[in-house]
Point group: C2
Chain length 274, copies 2
């Protein structure tokens, strides 16, 4: 399937096979190795780590020539990774998985909602060195050319040095002055929250419906080691994210919940809330 | 909206408003406080932390009487939490969020794919003490009665003691001998993987389609402090999960990726893979 002298690289995204960002990754990864693509057949942004098992999925081949194999699929980004693992990798993992380039930021808490990031997480779960790439420019015709050499740098680094087991990289590109990018900074995810607002409208049949909108609230706008701050300084940020999420500290503090018997609560009284 | 002398509890799930599990939670939480429910209008299992912003959502009121307010929604479990935050909580968070009871295990790595768990994660992100409840019995008519007193114990504990900021509980109930449950154990998530297989079929129009199936592989079947092992011993498991996933150790080991200049790779040679 692939030329054994070159790295084998798997590519997916969540904006769909037609998005500009994934084609930049295909071009850049084809300089490094043999490439396989399975991407959603349409935009699946905000799908996080969703999988499709209540309905079937379909797979459609685009091309298989000159070390480039391209498919699209009706499922989620994580479905695309799982399909590749089951049907194409033949128990030999690729040397690298890249997801994106997402049209829109996946910095800070956005990483939780992102299908682009989830595809890289699924790669890491399966032992594949994985990187999610996103640009703060969400425009469909965003110009990603300035990021190409950095994509090369990061991809080469991960192929050569690897990543810790169950850790993957969440890379974001700044968008305001791409001619003067300051470099790459490995950093932590900013603490913040996405505050949603549902925009209520009424359809022609007099029924209400809602559009999800919202804004990001940065809890630490001055934190110089956080991705949001570094992106504002025109750095490319690379945040190592882990799959494992057990909070070991809380296991200790919650020991009082351990029980070998049933506790009855019928007599507990609650006071008025303040 | 709610009686101010009783706790205010928000309930959702991913199996949909018609599922048996959520009605057990509604009954049990109504013993403790005033209850608001927004649940998906149909099953949305495996939706993880997905949100809906590319299409509108609709909200439908079922009832609002005697301290119980029930809605369903066309969105994902996380959408349900976000809708409640925006339209119903009026900047006063509930005292508790519970999600479930999921019909099916969300132990180990399943927590990453689960909409039930994601709803609790979204609660924690927003500062609400949150618990996901799941049963290993995925049958639609599963008998959850044996779990009721334990649900009371855990809910009371979390209301009274709280949880660490950005931490929530992922609770799973065993299913094989519910008359002899051994108690509750706070523990860590088992290291393991869900290995997917796509079952290929051909439709009447001679086109291929795929159903996602698979099996769980436990990397540490003898780990006595892990949820899978404890569930096999007939314990109820409560795993504290954290929202934050930056791997701080990797920030240090990846310092060589930091750069203030562009590196050119045109001369890098790869050797044959073994």
């Amino acid at each position: 399937m692939q030329n054994s002298e070159r790295p084998f690289i798997f590519i997916t995204n969540d904006d769909g096979i037609q998005a500009k960002g994934i084609h930049v990754l295909i071009e850049e990864m084809s300089k490094i190795g043999d490439v396989m693509v399975i991407a959603p057949n349409t935009g699946r942004s905000g799908m996080a780590h969703a999988i499709t098992f209540s309905s079937p999925v379909r797979l459609h081949k685009h091309k298989n020539e000159n070390g480039l194999m391209v498919y699209d699929m009706t499922g989620t980004p994580v479905d695309c990774v799982k399909m590749a693992l089951d049907k194409f990798f033949d128990r030999k993992n690729p040397d690298l998985l890249v997801s994106g380039i997402n049209h829109g930021s996946n910095a800070s808490i956005c990483s939780i909602y992102s299908g682009t990031v989830a595809a890289a997480r699924e790669g890491a779960i399966n032992g594949i060195p994985s990187i999610a790439f996103s640009s703060l420019d969400f425009s469909p015709d965003a110009d990603f050319d300035a990021f190409r050499p950095y994509i090369q740098t990061i991809a080469h680094h991960v192929i050569e040095q690897g990543l810790q087991r169950n850790v993957f990289l969440n890379v974001n590109f700044p968008c305001h002055d791409t001619a003067n990018i300051q470099g790459i900074q490995v950093c932590r995810q900013t603490k913040g929250i996405w505050i949603e607002e549902f925009d209520k409208r009424t359809d022609p049949h007099n029924q209400d419906y809602f559009w999800l909108t919202g804004h990001f609230e940065n809890y630490e706008p001055e934190a110089r080691d956080s991705d949001e701050w570094l992106l504002k300084q025109n750095y490319i940020t690379a945040v190592p994210l882990q799959v494992e999420t057990t909070d070991l500290n809380s296991i200790q503090s919650l020991q009082t919940l351990n029980t070998n018997s049933i506790i009855h609560h019928s007599t507990i009284q609650y006071n008025a809330k303040n």
